[in-house]
Symmetry: C3
Subunit: 367 residues, 3 copies
C-alpha cells in the first residue's frame, strides 16, 4: 500500500536526481512549480499527474494529454515542439532527459511512497521463541515464524506468511500475505516476495528402481540476493545437494517455476509462466519472455534474450535473441500446414529427387 | 460443500424453469414422479440419479443406463425410441428439451444446493476494527480482513483467506480458503475465488537503467464484475496506472496468469494454465484454450476462439478459431521434421531454383 | 527438515539393504569404516560425504573427488581402476552395485532422516471438535482442520495448511505449510503435499446458454493413493461427477494442473508446469516432460513418454517417446522459417507441379 504525496516538478526533479545518485536529471521546460501528486497514462492524466512518453508512437497522445507534466527525451520534445502552437500549449511542463522511463520510475516511487512499516508483532502472529525479529520489523496476524528464523530491520512479514526454521529475511524485505519461505533459506535485503510464492520446496528428485521412484532428500537450500522480486505463486525449489541461487537484482514475474540447483544470474528478468528445469544456469542480464520453457542442465549465455512461448532444449552459448513457437493461423490453415509439416522429410526427398532428375535432363540435350 | 436433496422429476422441471426464468422447460416422458437426489454419468448412474445425453456418441450408454431420468434433446430421444422396446424399457423417464446440458446444469445445482452460509466471524479470524462485515456474512478461522475492507451480504471468507485494506467483496461471493485479494480491489456479487488465487499482486513493471531494473509502483487495482469465477492458484495483477478489469460472467480456470492492465471482456472463458501479458484486451464471449499464451498490448476480437497451447503474438482482429502448436510426433520423426524445419527457407530456395531451371529447360526444346 | 547423522560405509550398506528389503546391496572396495554424515556432488564432496557416479560423463570428476565414498556400478569402477594409481588413490572407498543411483537415494535418506514428528496440536491451530487427529500426529500453528476430518498416525499438518470437512489424511503423510486439501478428499499414506498445492478445487464445468455460462456443481472428490508426492502450487480439481484419481506412487512436480475426473496411473512421474485437461486417463509408469500440455478426454498408454513443452491433442495408444515443439532458432531465422511454414501447403503444391511438369518434359525427348 502506498500513500500519494504532492510535490512540485522542480522538487521532483531534485528528488529523482538524489535517488539515482545523480545519474538522472531532467531539464524542465514550462512551469516547474506545477504540483504533482500521482502518475497516469498520457490519455487519462489530469493536471496533478505526471505522465511519460517513451515511445514515439504515442506522440499524438502527448500532444492532447492534460497531464501536469510529461517526461520525455530530447527527440520527442523536438517532435512535439515542431507541432503547431495551439497543441503544444496544452502541455503545462516537460521534463526532458535521456532516460525518461527510468526518470519516470523513480518519480513514480517518490509520488507513491510505500507506507512506512509499523514495527511490531501483531496479535495472532505465531512466532517461535528462538526467532529473532528486529524491533523495527513488522509481523502481521496469522503469519508464522519458525525456530531460529531471523527477520531484518524494517522487514515486513504479511498476513499468513510462513517463514521456516533458521531462514533469514533481509533488511527492508517485504514478504506479502501467504508467501512461504521454507527452512534454511536466505532472502536478501529489499527483496519483495509476492503472495502465494513458495521458496524452498523440495526439488523433484527421484531414483527409479523396479518401476517405482525413490525420493532423494533435497538437502540444499535457496539463496536469494538483494533487490530481487519474486512474483505471485512463483515457486523456487531448494537444491538437491548445494543451493538454488538467485543473484542480486533478478526480477521474477508470477507463476515462474525454478527447479533445484538452478542459478539465475544477476539482473536477469523472467516474465510470467516461465519454467526452468533443474541445474540450469541462466546468465546475467538475460531477458526471458513469458511462458518460455528452459530445459535442465543447460547454460544460457549472459545477455541472452529468449522470446515468449519458446522452448529451449539446449544451451545458448552465443548471446542473441532466440525464438521458437508455431506461428498463429486460422485453425483450418493450421491443419493444412501441420499435415505438410508431418511429412517435411518426404517433401525434402522429393525436391532432392527433382534436382537429381533435373540435372539428368539438363545434361541430355547437351550430349 | 453441498447437501443432496430429493426431488421428483416433475418438481425438478419446475424448479429449472423457475431458475432459468422460464427459458428452460422440458417435456417429461415416462414417470414424472421418479425421485432424484443426485447426478451421475450415464454409465454409473443409479435409480436416484439424473444423467444427461448431450452428445450422440453416448446414445448406447443412454440405452443401458440405470439412471432414474435422462435429460436429452428431441433428436436423441427419437433415436433412442426407434430402438427395440426391451432397451428403451430400461429408461424410467426422459426430460426432453432443446438445451439438455443447460437444463442439467440448473438441475444439478438444485439437487446439490450450496450449504447456506452460517453467518458470523469465527474465533481465530483476524478482522480489523474498521472492516465492515455484513451480519449475514461468514468469516472462517485464520482469515484476515484488513482495515476498511467490506464484506457483502451472505459472502463467505474461507479459512486463511486474506482480504486487503479497503477491498470490497460483493454479496454472496465465496472466497475459498487461502485465496488472497490484496488492497483496494473490488470483487463483484456471486463471484467465486478458489483457493490459492492471488488478486491484486503487483504488475511486472520495471524501467531498465545501466543494466539494472527500477521498480515502477503499481498504483492501479483489480476490478472484477459479477458472477466471475477465478480458479485455484490463478493470479491477476493490479494495474500499473489504471485498473486490471475482469468483466461480468468471466470464467477463469486454474493457474491462469493475467498481467497488469488487461481487460477481459464479459462472458469470456479461459481454460487452465493460460498466460496473458500486460495491457491486452480480450473481447467479450471469447474462448481461450488451455495453456494458450497471449502477448502484451494486443486486442482479441469479441467472440474469438483460441486453441489450446497456442501462442498469440499479435492482435486477432477477425473472429474465428485460431491454432498454433507443433503436431505430435514420435520423437525420431520429430527430430527429422525439425531438422528440415530449420532449413525451410533453403528448401523453398531450392524449389524456386528448380522452377526457374525447369522453365529454361521447357523453353529450350521449343526454340 | 532433516538432521544429519554419522554412519560408517559398512553400516550404511546394511541399512540400504534393509530399507530396500534386500534388493540393493553394494560391494565395498577400500575403507568400509569411513564415517559418512552427508551427501554431495562429486566435485564439492568432502571426506565425510557420500557421492555418486551414475553417468560415465562424470568419471573425471570421480577421479579427483574428495568424497569419503562413491557409489557406482561395475563398469564405472573398472574404468576408474584402469586409471593410473595416483588418481585412484584419492578415492577412500567405493560402493559398487548395479543400481548406484537408487542405492544413493536410500543412503541419502538414511544420512538425512526426516525429523520425527513431535505429536500434538499447536496453540493457534484451528481444529473442529468433530475432527479426529491421531495422537501421534502433529498440527502446526495457523492450520485449520474442518469438521469430520481425519488425520492419520504420524501425519504432519504444516503451518497454515487447510484440511477440509470429512477429508482423510493418511498415516505418515506430510502436508506442508499452506497446502490446501478441500472437503471430502482422501490422501494416502506417506504422501507429501508441498506448500501452496490445492487439492479438491472445483473442476471447470459450465453449460453455455444464451452467451452466458451456468455452473455445474462439482460433486466428485479427489482420491490420492499411497506414496504420492504433489509439488508446490500444483492444483488437482475435484471430479464433476465421480472422482479425480491419482494412483499409488505418482510424483507430481510444481505448478502441475490436473483437471476434473482425470486418472493418473500408478508410478507415473509428471514434471513441472504440465497441464492435463478434464477426463483424461494417463497410464501407469508414464513420464511426462515439463510444460507438456495434454488435452481432455484422452487416453495415454501405459509406459508412454511425452517430451517437454509438447502439446498432446489426441490419444497416445502406442507407447513410445513423443515430442512436439518448434526447434530453437535465432529470432531472424525463426521469422524466415515461420514465413515459409505459413505457406507450406503452397510449397508442396509447387513441388507437385514441378513433378508433373518434369514427367512431361522427361517424356517428350523419348517420343
Amino acid at each position: 500500500m502506498t500513500t500519494a504525496v504532492s510535490v512540485s516538478l522542480a522538487d521532483l526533479n531534485s528528488a529523482v536526481a538524489e535517488r539515482s545518485t545523480g545519474r538522472l536529471q531532467a531539464i524542465i521546460i514550462g512551469s516547474s512549480d506545477v504540483k504533482l501528486s500521482g502518475v497516469a497514462a498520457l490519455a487519462s492524466a489530469t493536471r496533478s499527474d505526471l505522465a511519460f512518453l517513451a515511445n514515439p508512437l504515442y506522440r499524438a497522445d502527448a500532444l492532447t494529454s492534460r497531464a501536469g507534466a510529461i517526461v520525455l527525451n530530447a527527440a520527442d520534445r523536438d517532435a512535439l515542439q515542431s507541432q503547431s502552437a495551439p497543441l503544444t500549449a496544452s502541455l503545462t511542463a516537460m521534463a526532458v532527459c535521456e532516460q525518461p522511463y527510468a526518470w519516470f520510475a523513480y518519480a513514480a516511487q517518490i509520488l507513491n511512497p510505500e507506507d512506512s512499516v509499523k514495527a511490531g508483532i501483531a496479535d495472532g502472529a505465531h512466532v517461535a521463541d528462538s526467532a529473532r525479529i528486529h524491533p523495527s520489523a513488522r509481523v502481521d496476524a496469522g503469519a508464522t515464524i519458525a525456530e531460529g528464523a531471523g527477520i531484518g530491520a524494517g522487514a515486513w512479514i504479511g498476513a499468513g506468511a510462513v517463514i521456516g526454521a533458521r531462514t533469514v529475511i533481509g533488511d527492508a524485505a517485504r514478504i506479502y500475505p501467504r508467501a512461504v519461505v521454507l527452512d534454511d533459506c536466505r532472502i536478501g535485503a529489499r527483496c519483495i516476495v509476492h503472495s502465494g510464492a513458495v521458496i524452498g520446496s523440495d526439488g523433484f528428485g527421484f531414483a527409479p528402481l523396479d518401476g517405482r521412484y525413490i525420493k532423494i532428500p533435497q538437502v540444499g537450500a535457496v539463496v536469494i540476493g538483494d533487490d530481487v522480486e519474486v512474483g505471485a505463486n512463483t515457486t523456487i525449489d531448494r537444491g538437491a545437494m548445494g543451493d538454488t541461487i538467485i543473484e542480486d537484482g533478478v526480477k521474477l514475474d508470477n507463476q515462474v517455476q525454478i527447479a533445484h540447483n538452478c542459478v539465475i544470474g544477476a539482473h536477469t528478468v523472467i516474465a510470467g509462466c516461465v519454467g526452468i528445469a533443474g541445474s540450469t544456469r541462466i546468465g546475467k542480464g538475460c531477458r526471458i519472455g513469458g511462458a518460455a520453457m528452459i530445459g535442465g542442465h543447460l547454460q544460457i549465455a549472459d545477455g541472452s534474450s529468449i522470446g515468449p512461448a519458446t522452448p529451449v532444449p539446449s544451451s545458448v552459448t552465443e548471446p542473441g535473441h532466440y525464438t521458437a513457437f508455431f506461428p498463429l493461423m486460422k485453425h483450418r490453415e493450421w491443419e493444412r500446414a501441420a499435415a505438410v509439416l508431418r511429412n517435411l522429410p518426404e517433401l525434402r526427398s522429393r525436391v532432392r529427387q527433382l534436382e537429381a532428375e533435373h540435372k539428368a535432363v539438363e545434361l541430355k540435350p547437351g550430349k
